[in-house]
């Protein structure tokens, strides 16, 4: 992975992709934020935004190293190898082995940072409106360290790319997960389920109405997610290659098909095709094509999209059936969508899928990868949740929950469109602490 000649085209593509993936977390904040009631929109957004803060810093300190450092038994990378990005400046990642497609190692760091951030942020959809913000913040740190970084190592760290030895799923099981169906979506979806189970349902879940407060915000989130997802999937080729082109086209068309499938499902079941359904179908399609985008043909991608769109549209009802409150359907969309995509590869992979005469071997590998991540994520997340509950408490007080997390956790409200000013004065707290004169100003 030492190389002097950088391919500027590949580097440009991966830097753009990294920025696109980073945009996905604000996009997720809008997607989720629009779906809760108006009195919780800021808290919902902040759960994504704070993940950018904590996970971004951790990634640079030891997260990248835990994921892509030299493997300790295929289970986790050496967290000290690249601690604080040491040993990385001037290094390159060579993804083809022929020295023609080298990109600076720091580009890969940035690209993967954005993955880590959004994986954590995704979990928040399950716990909308009722988790303490301080506990969520600590959760992002602990969960990234104990769950995401190791699982990313399992799935994304190929031997000889970022370090000599990589993770067990990538190198031993040899499952295909091009851009993170297991490491991101199954992982986050499962974690959301575990956390929601420990946390309990929102007050009034299933009885009192909790409709989305701003569907233009939801649609904005979905639109930006789709845009960013081209970086997520096609960027995972780590170069501006024909593989990236295939991933790009599949990321488009699977999503188109999933949106249509979700809308048709709704139309048949509920009598209406909704905009929330379109936005949800978009995300479901993106999730499902994520692992598969480089393995299936465009027509295969359409099939994956249809399965994901219809499958997730049906699966979001599960929470009412089983009574767990996965508020914004992280399980129904990310876990189920991730499973659909990961397993569909076994059938539709053009090189060795069942339908292409490849037998059931690859399907088995896909299943092992999917369920290994699912089980690990569920168990560890559940334990983390119990520990945090014991130490600092998980839930808002009932009165805070009923009067809204925005006011109670952030002392803000999302919107003030009235032309009447009910606020009747302001008082300035403190201003600058000039060194040597720690005075406070009250006006």
């Amino acid at each position: 992975m030492m190389a002097l000649e950088i391919n500027t085209g590949d580097t440009a593509w991966v830097m753009v992709s990294a920025a696109l993936v980073l945009l996905m977390t604000p996009a997720l904040a809008f997607f989720y934020g629009g779906m809760v009631r108006a009195f919780g929109v800021l808290n919902m957004m902040m759960m994504s935004i704070i993940s950018m803060g904590t996970v971004g810093v951790l990634w640079i300190l030891y997260g990248y190293s835990e994921a892509f450092g030299n493997s300790i038994g295929g289970v986790v990378g050496n967290p000290f190898q690249y601690f604080g990005m040491r040993n990385l400046y001037g290094m390159a990642i060579d993804t083809t082995g022929d020295g023609k497609h080298d990109i600076p190692a720091l580009v890969f760091v940035g690209f993967q940072a954005a993955f880590a951030i959004i994986a954590v942020a995704l979990v928040s959809g399950a716990v909308a409106d009722r988790i303490k913000f301080s506990t969520w913040t600590v959760f992002t740190v602990v969960w990234a360290t104990l769950v995401y970084f190791p699982v990313a190592h399992w799935v994304f760290a190929f031997d000889g790319v970022a370090a000599a030895h990589g993770g067990w799923i990538a190198n031993t099981v040899k499952a295909y997960d091009f851009a993170g169906g297991t490491a991101i979506h199954i992982n986050a979806g499962t974690a959301g389920l575990a956390l929601a189970l420990v946390l309990g349902p929102r007050l009034g879940f299933g009885q009192r109405p909790m409709r989305p407060h701003n569907l233009t915000l939801v649609m904005l989130g979905a639109g930006l997610l789709w845009f960013g997802w081209f970086g997520f999937n096609a960027g995972s080729a780590l170069g501006a290659t024909p593989t990236a082109a295939l991933a790009w086209v599949n990321t488009m068309v699977a999503t188109c098909a999933a949106m249509l499938a979700w809308l048709v499902t709704e139309r048949i079941r509920d009598g209406h095709a909704t905009s929330l359904g379109a936005a949800s179908g978009i995300v479901a399609g993106l999730v499902a094509i994520t692992p598969a985008c480089a393995s299936v043909s465009p027509v295969g991608a359409i099939v994956v999209g249809i399965l994901a769109g219809a499958g997730c549209a049906l699966a979001i009802g599960l929470k009412f059936k089983f009574g767990f409150d996965d508020a914004l359907d992280v399980v129904g969309v990310h876990l189920v969508g991730g499973l659909i995509g990961t397993l569909a590869i076994g059938f539709l992979a053009t090189n060795d899928g069942v339908f292409y005469g490849g037998g059931f071997m690859q399907l088995g590998r896909q299943a092992i990868a999917a369920f290994a991540v699912l089980i690990y994520s569920f168990v560890v997340t559940y334990v983390i949740a119990l520990v945090l509950k014991a130490i600092m408490g998980l839930r808002l007080t009932s009165s805070a929950e009923l009067s809204g997390a925005d006011i109670n956790e952030h002392a803000e409200i999302g919107y003030d469109l009235s032309n009447v000013r009910y606020t009747n004065y302001q008082r300035v707290h403190s201003t600058v602490v000039v060194p040597g004169s720690k005075e406070e100003v009250h006006s």
């Binding site: 109405p209 409709r211 709704e266 909704t274 929330l276 979001i316 359907d329």
Partner: protein
């Protein structure tokens, strides 16, 4: 003096306002309200969960008037606001002890 209050369909507001103006009524005060009564609400669907909205958007008009004009005003409102469908609303009259115009301090019928 009287306070005439009417709860009407939002879409007839303009017609009523124009009719009142033609009838010589100088001022009205309008509030957006929600009504729950005979008229059926609608259903919304979000991710397969159905929401029934019982309350229907209505507009409340308030008109202050002298005693002698009150009946005429009620009549104008009832005539203009009628669409004939359930949900057309009500008009009611309440006695008023006194009215003051803030700008001038005028009282009673002068203030209207």
């Amino acid at each position: 003096m009287k306070l005439i209050t009417a709860v009407i369909q939002p879409m007839v507001l303009n017609d009523v306002q124009v009719a009142l103006a033609q009838h010589g009524i100088a001022g009205i005060t309008v509030t957006e309200v929600s009504g729950y009564a005979r008229q059926k609400g609608h259903t919304e669907v979000y991710r397969g969960a159905e929401y029934t909205i019982d309350f229907i958007a209505k507009v409340k008009l308030e008109v202050l008037t002298s005693d002698d004009l009150a009946d005429g005003i009620v009549e104008v409102i009832v005539r203009t606001a009628r669409t004939g469908q359930i949900g057309d609303g009500k008009v009611w009259t309440v006695p008023v002890d006194d009215v003051v115009r803030i700008r001038t301090g005028e009282r009673g019928d002068e203030a209207i």
